[in-house]
């Protein structure tokens, strides 16, 4: 009996020792932070925290409640350990021309300083969530714009932006692919803004491959990204579409499609439309996804209209309680003025039974919405090319009927400061992201 009791006691003591060692192990990585944490927790809780010191497990157990704060910090840091690998290195480099950039916190091939100057997010490598790093995408877009510019002397308008190149007697080689390129200087001039940017010709070769950094046998360096964007009058990497009609677009016989052409932030939403629907009229990209708000909103509306249930008023059933649409398509077609596609000349009658509101949306309107435009212009087939349905959607009314913003991520969604992953909820996933940056400093 005594032996059994002794063995049980010994096991008990052994287990306690193991446990206390375990706690000590947990507390050791934070030893360096001890003073700082104590200081801060004193500020927050009015009590100085104590850390596990091995043998005083009993005291620790008694004061466990007080130490829950430090345990929380430990948990926060532990959760984030899996993501501590340098993101800049982790990102894949599909094209070897995409040279790594120094001082690039999010590894998107744009330096912090550049992102700061062009208003991008320093800690989000893929703001539009299309799995292409922002820098690569922006370089590709710049390449496309530069490609469309006339060479010096070929401009049709004295205010037109043009590119120039002065060939010199000599070539250099790309260090990546070995391509031969003239070693002379090149540049772009915007006479209207009285701005210009210059770079060696090899820079264009690298921009073509998605990189603003270049490395040739003679020249290596980086293009001045903010200046280049301003000269090109390009801010976002999205590919514009001809369907995205400007607010002052005029159709013969109908006049200007948009009732108001004032657009302070140039996001293709008129000021009066932004005022009526509650969007930020001072920011062209209020959700920072590097797509102008007007284009994004039009596409979101198109997607929501597509997903609405179709109700047949002649079918005998009761209409849905949520927003629905009724098909009023007709026997006839009309043409899109931009792409020439044929669409039905009829319309959807969209109803919000709760708000007792409705709007008629032509099929041609849906076509333009899907291309990112609230303005639309259709043409008759017979007589050919005569104006047919054209105008601009009443955005505030449409948004009310569709009850937008409806989903997390729709334009107008508000995110908490702690909602790091922008899923509209501050939860353990955000805590993990938070822990990832624990005690990281961005001080000058």
């Amino acid at each position: 009996m005594r032996r059994l009791r002794r063995r049980a006691c010994q096991r008990h003591i052994k287990d306690n020792k193991k446990l206390s060692q375990n706690i000590q192990c947990h507390s050791e990585p934070f030893a360096a932070l001890k003073d700082k944490l104590c200081e801060e927790s004193t500020f927050l809780t009015g009590q100085t925290l104590r850390f596990a010191q091995g043998d005083d497990f009993k005291i620790l157990a008694k004061k466990f409640k007080r130490r829950i704060v430090s345990a929380g910090v430990a948990a926060a840091i532990t959760l984030g350990t899996a993501a501590t690998t340098n993101k800049a290195l982790a990102a894949g480099l599909p094209d070897p021309h995409q040279l790594p950039v120094s001082m690039d916190s999010d590894g998107d091939f744009l330096a912090n300083r550049e992102e700061f100057a062009i208003g991008y997010l320093l800690f989000d490598p893929d703001q539009n969530r299309n799995l292409i790093p922002d820098g690569v995408e922006l370089a590709n877009r710049c390449n496309s714009v530069i490609g469309s510019l006339p060479w010096q002397g070929q401009q049709t308008d004295p205010n037109q932006t043009y590119k120039w190149h002065t060939p010199v007697f000599g070539i250099e080689f790309c260090e990546i692919c070995g391509a031969t390129i003239n070693m002379g200087p090149a540049g772009i001039v915007n006479p209207r803004l009285n701005l210009s940017v210059s770079f060696p010709l090899i820079a264009l070769h690298y921009i073509e491959h998605g990189s603003f950094s270049y490395n040739g046998t003679i020249h290596d360096g980086r293009v001045d990204v903010p200046s280049l964007l301003r000269v090109l009058e390009t801010r976002f990497p999205y590919e514009p579409n001809d369907h995205q009609l400007p607010l002052n677009y005029v159709v013969k016989g109908s006049g200007q499609l948009a009732p108001d052409a004032n657009d302070l932030d140039r996001d293709l939403l008129a000021d009066t439309e932004e005022l009526a629907s509650g969007f930020d009229l001072y920011d062209a990209d209020q959700d920072a996804n590097i797509v102008p708000d007007g284009i994004e909103l039009a596409k979101q509306c198109s997607s929501v209209i597509d997903q609405l249930p179709v109700y047949n008023p002649y079918g005998g059933g009761l209409p849905p309680e949520k927003p629905y649409k009724i098909n009023y398509f007709q026997h006839g077609l009309e043409l899109c003025e931009i792409c020439g596609n044929q669409v039905n000349m009829g319309y959807w009658h969209i109803v919000n039974p709760k708000l007792t509101l409705f709007i008629d949306v032509y099929d041609i309107t849906c076509h333009y919405l899907s291309h990112g435009s609230f303005s639309f212009s259709g043409l008759k087939i017979d007589p050919p090319n005569g104006p047919f349905h054209n105008g601009r959607v009443k955005i505030a009314l449409l948004l009310s009927i569709l009850e937008m913003p409806k989903r997390c991520g729709d334009l107008g969604t508000i995110y908490l400061p702690g909602d790091i992953n922008k899923d509209c909820k501050e939860d353990l996933n955000d805590l993990a992201d938070f822990a990832d940056n624990w005690l990281q400093s961005t001080g000058p």
């Binding site: 008990h12 700082k36 345990a71 948990a75 926060a76 532990t78 800690f123 701005l195 009229l281 400061p417």
Partner: protein, 394 residues
Amino acid sequence: MRKLRRAYQKNQRQNKRFKQRIVSAGVAAVITLGSSASISKAIGPDLPDPHQLSVKCDADADLLANKEETAIGYNVFRADQNRNGILDGVELARYCCEVVKELPVYPPGPLPDNIYKIEHALDGLEQCEVCGQWIHMGGWEIINRKLNLRYPDPNDPMERSFLPDLALHYMEHGSFDCQGSRHKGRVNIPRLLRVLEVRYPYDPNEHQLPVDGNDLDKDLLTDNEELSAGWNLYDADQNANLIPDGPERAGRCAEIIDALPVYEPNTPGIEEPYKINYFQKGIETCHICSALVNMGYWLVVNPKLGLSIQVPDIVCHYMKHGSFSFAGDVHGKGRIDLNLLVNVLGERYKASIDLGPYNLGDFNEDHIVNLLDLADFSNQWLVSTDPNENECYR
């Protein structure tokens, strides 16, 4: 023996579960940290003036609703963006009231060039429900000719044809809400700001001369200056403190130059920036306020970088008023070389304006992610802003 065995088994079970519990303890700690701040912020702050009626769906309790802050580009979760101890909504209301009161009235007289107001006089009074004051029940219609906009909107739920005098009374007391015997409701803030061409509760100064070059974000810094300095040329208020970047930086530069030590030319052994007095026997008059300043200049020197710049006294005068451009009767009209000035002031300038960057999780923008941020984080623990779940964020 049985008791001992049970005690032992119990103890063993507890030990095994300890590791599992540490994670839940962490989460508990996160929530605990925030508990001190969990009281609704909308109720928390003192409302010194009873006219400042609390606003529905106002996450930061600055008397601006979430939707309004989104529409005018303010921070939904920061009550006092310019850190002057006054709630943003209160400050904005008072400022808008001042602007409306100063607008020219038409008719009578010639049609004003841009923004003016038309009186809608009514034969009657209404009583303020807070202070009991009797106020004219009419108001003012505000017209912006350039933008072809008017206030109010024809569908405004409070009043379709004018901004009531009662609303101005409440705005003077720092509230966009008003409660009277005739008019009840809230001013359409985004529309009013746009019609007034006002964005911040910031009083511009006539010394802030318009810039000659391109200024995309209208912050009184030219695109060229912003490009050279690496500042954001698409955002007029980069540090979101409700003051346009140009006037803010001009003011800071003036403060730094004021605080520089004065030395004689060629004084040896100085490493930090200093200034040399080259004032002259003569005065110069400011074109705007007719203030008299010395016609001489300060030579600001950065010995470490080997750079220097002449800053005339008239320029200091304009910079104090928030402008890098100047107009005097000796130096004429001009603009200081901003990039050279910033380089000469060096680290002192950088230290004077905090433009970030701030890491993810650095909610209080103190450049380090620490327990203070964890406290802020826990404050919103499990709060949802999904438009489907929370109507305040719709």
